[in-house]
Assembly symmetry: C2
Homo-oligomer: 358 residues x 2
């Protein structure tokens, strides 16, 4: 069964195709490639698994391939430059189309390369992890990390299309599936309480890669994300709720070095910290915190911060977050299950209690 | 006398202020700074001359300064990263404003840093060379070079304002003044025949930095550029005429190594090559080529390509130009004085004759 969603952004609107075994299906790619040149960017892990299948659906194009090393630690300007070098060596021009075949790191870097190469060329997202399928491939956020902060360098650049083949998730390590599941749970928490309840019932089906459950979870996640992005493409306001748990989570990732904790793992713990603070502020019943923790534990996600991180380390690292405005830390908190807000109205004393508790 | 122009781009419209001694005048800066943080990016040559004056007009802000090495050879991703490092170390957030104080290299890099830092922050252009005042500071093209091609990595990112102090040109080396003059002549050639005639009469006044003549030349150049940019912000069409001489010129710059030929010098020779080809195609009287050469010679600009560059080197380097579409080289040619067009309709045999002649 093919599911099609649309990210509604006027002239920059684009489709998200979700289905099994659609990766090698040219019908979903060809209408979104305008020129004669294509550059597929992927990584060492994904290339042996799916590159050939994708290449088979690109007959008649000049197709070049860039294979990057795998991992968040390579999401840098230096690796980005490898993509530019390949494009220039193969003389790709302004009508080229970049295709990101891989997880969030490949997608974010390919998107930023597309945003910056000759000041902007087309690109298509073919996400191969649950995390990138439900989150980073949709919405046009692209970029690389800096040694001093995650995703600090980048651009908003919308893809021409997103092609999600849920079949590829069966080759995903369970730990990475769980990391993606954390972002799925996020949509329940910020905007979709009935989806949250569905997840409580179906978590085992998802974690065992049951096709219908996976496809439904991906579709509903993308639908939630697309709705938020359509309201606020460049994160002037409501889009920031998509970062629930991310300010805490980025601090964990930065402190641990990129890649030691998976992004989704850090977000899982970060969301619980945000919910804990929401409880302390008196907005959220502790019951909802407990339900969320139970749900994340069923996916074997971490629910405690790394032991060596002190409250001071957190506060220090959180101060460079992109949501800081004129020195004031803003956080995404949850006012009731399925409803999030961005606020600076929380007490530092409660924040310290939360940090101490984790 | 203060002259104000507007670049008309809807929501992204912005003013260009042109006047003598307006650099330290807070009235032209403060309305365009939204937050509390400012980062001035400049270079080793300009900092001792004008940084203090600019800083005096920024009271009450957190002002940090990044001083880059001077020269086109530093217009790289590596130098760009220095700006990001400074911004992160000083904890600049999304409401920060970057100010580019310097020539085209500083302006292009600061603009790209502003486009990419946290996926986009504000910036203001304070160009200090004739070339940057009449060309690169207006229109939102930002970026860095790649070893395999000039300006191949970048973004369209419009400034909040452009502050042009013509007084600073008196400290500019004559060679750099001439390089800027080449771009001034360009506006006459592509869209403003009466300005071309005015330049023929007034070239000595400009080259001796006579204030009224300089201010008029800058204003009229900016007006021409603003009109073209307003029609075609992202160079889907007519904007490409601003690149008259640039495809040839970039080839010279790349072959000689960035910085050995100044950009304006390469453009001067490149424009003559484009005019020569236009004559061979039968569009332009050779008289207009001769007038242009005479005008450029009065500013001591080079009118011949480097001796060690063969026709094959040119053709090879021109093939990576951003105006190449699906393998076909497009060039900006002149159909009559004051009228340019982008075309692939020229014979390779004439192109080779032009290359041989230079």
């Amino acid at each position: 069964m093919m599911r099609t969603l649309t990210v509604d952004l006027g002239e920059r609107s684009y489709p998200i195709f979700i289905g099994e075994n659609i990766l090698g299906h040219p019908d979903y790619l060809l209408p979104y490639i305008k020129g004669q040149q294509v550059c597929v960017v992927t990584n060492e892990t994904i290339a042996p698994l799916y590159l050939e299948q994708l290449m088979n659906s690109l007959p008649g194009f000049q197709v070049d391939v860039v294979v990057l090393p795998d991992g968040e630690s390579f999401k840098t300007l230096t690796t980005l430059n490898q993509i530019f070098t390949a494009l220039l060596e193969k003389r790709h021009n302004r009508t080229t189309t970049l295709i990101a075949l891989g997880g969030g790191v490949v997608g974010d870097m390919t998107g930023f390369a597309a945003a910056s190469y000759q000041r902007g060329v087309d690109f298509i997202q073919v996400p191969t992890t649950l995390l990138s399928q439900v989150d980073s491939s949709v919405g046009g956020k692209t970029g690389v990390n800096h040694a001093l902060g995650k995703n600090m360098i980048g651009a908003f650049h919308q893809p021409n299309a997103v092609l999600i083949d849920t079949k590829v998730l069966s080759s995903l390590p369970r730990r990475e599936l769980a990391a993606g599941f954390a972002e799925v749970v996020k949509y329940g928490l910020i905007s979709d309480p009935s989806f949250f309840c569905w997840l409580e019932v179906n978590v085992e089906r998802i974690m065992s890669c049951e096709p219908e459950a996976l496809a439904y979870a991906v579709e509903r996640s993308c639908q939630n994300k697309a709705t938020v992005v359509a309201q606020d493409e460049k994160e002037g306001g409501v889009r920031a709720i998509l970062n629930l748990g991310h300010t805490f989570g980025h601090a964990i990732e930065t402190a641990q070095g990129y890649g030691n904790w998976l992004h989704g793992e850090a977000v899982a713990t970060g969301m619980l910290m945000a919910l804990d603070l929401s409880c302390r502020e008196g907005w959220l019943p502790t019951e909802d915190l407990a339900r969320t923790q139970a749900l994340l534990l069923k996916a074997s996600l971490p629910v405690r911060a790394p032991e060596d991180m002190t409250a001071e380390t957190f506060i220090d690292l959180m101060a460079v977050d992109k949501k800081v405005l004129d020195g004031e830390l803003r956080l995404v908190l949850v006012s009731e299950l399925g409803k999030a807000l961005v606020t600076k109205s929380f007490s530092m004393s409660n924040l310290r209690k939360t940090l101490a508790a984790f």
